[in-house]
């Protein structure tokens, strides 16, 4: 006999109140990451050892700037989801766990801020 209410069953959100959202977003970003990482590798290979002016010109071009934005959003989101699971699996003290989960978010946003600054400045800064 189930103790769950019919409404709870229909919503299907479980005790964490988010259902399979975390799992799904990990998969969604994983799928997006495949082409993004391949293009990213190609971009980096083409810029290895290039002089500063050439790197700047390439990174400032519209398609490359848009690509870097998409790449970074998907990868940062994906790694945030992933690291949260790692923390939940291995850190058992409640306080430490919550603090590390916060730190995960701060770290991801800080990396994102570096990327955002760089993309905007390179693309619009002239």
């Amino acid at each position: 006999m189930s103790m769950r209410t019919p409404l709870g069953k229909v919503r299907g959100l479980g005790s964490a109140k988010e259902g399979t959202e975390h799992f799904w977003r990990q998969r969604l970003t994983a799928v997006a990451n495949i082409p993004l990482v391949i293009i990213g590798l190609w971009l980096v290979i083409s810029l290895v050892g290039a002089p500063y002016s050439e790197v700047r010109a390439t990174l400032a071009s519209p398609l490359v700037a848009i690509f870097i934005a998409l790449f970074s959003i998907s990868v940062l989101y994906h790694m945030h989801l992933g690291m949260q699971v790692v923390i939940e699996d291995y850190v058992h003290g409640e306080l430490r766990k919550v603090l590390l989960i916060m730190l995960n978010t701060f770290f991801v946003f800080f990396s994102g801020a570096l990327v955002a600054f760089a993309v905007f400045k390179l693309a619009f800064g002239g």
Partner: protein
């Protein structure tokens, strides 16, 4: 007194270390380790972009760090982690659909996974060196 004894003689569930590592298990653990390594690797990428947006002197300094021997070793590890994690990720996505689960097949796939990740890493670095 009696209570403590009863507690200490309770059976423990076996620890991971008692198992002999098998290929599928190692590949699974490596997916997590490479994921964690890439987490910090992405920061290197952000830093490099930030340097490119700053100025020539700072960019050249950061490039110099990345191009040093230690820098190259880290970037080589980063490349391998990325390739290994991406292949493992594709495997995850296929297995999410219930396919490719047979045990002899998964063992073969795990062995191949390591070999292919190393070969692809070498090819990527050859391409990078050839580009300049």
């Amino acid at each position: 007194m009696r209570q403590t004894q009863a507690k200490s003689s309770r059976p423990l569930s076996p620890h991971l270390e008692i198992y002999k590592p098998i290929p599928t298990m190692v590949a699974s653990i490596m997916h997590r380790i490479t994921g964690a390594a890439l987490y910090f690797g992405m920061f290197l990428f952000s830093w490099w972009l930030f340097a490119a947006a700053t100025d020539a002197a700072y960019f050249d300094w950061v490039n110099g760090l990345f191009g040093s021997l230690l820098g190259r070793v880290v970037l080589l590890g980063f490349t391998w982690a990325l390739v290994h994690h991406m292949l493992g990720g594709v495997k995850h996505l296929v297995q999410d659909t219930g396919r490719a689960m047979e045990k002899h097949f998964t063992t073969k796939m795990a062995r191949l996974h390591f070999a292919v990740s190393i070969v692809l890493t070498i090819l990527i670095w050859i391409a990078a060196y050839a580009a300049r």
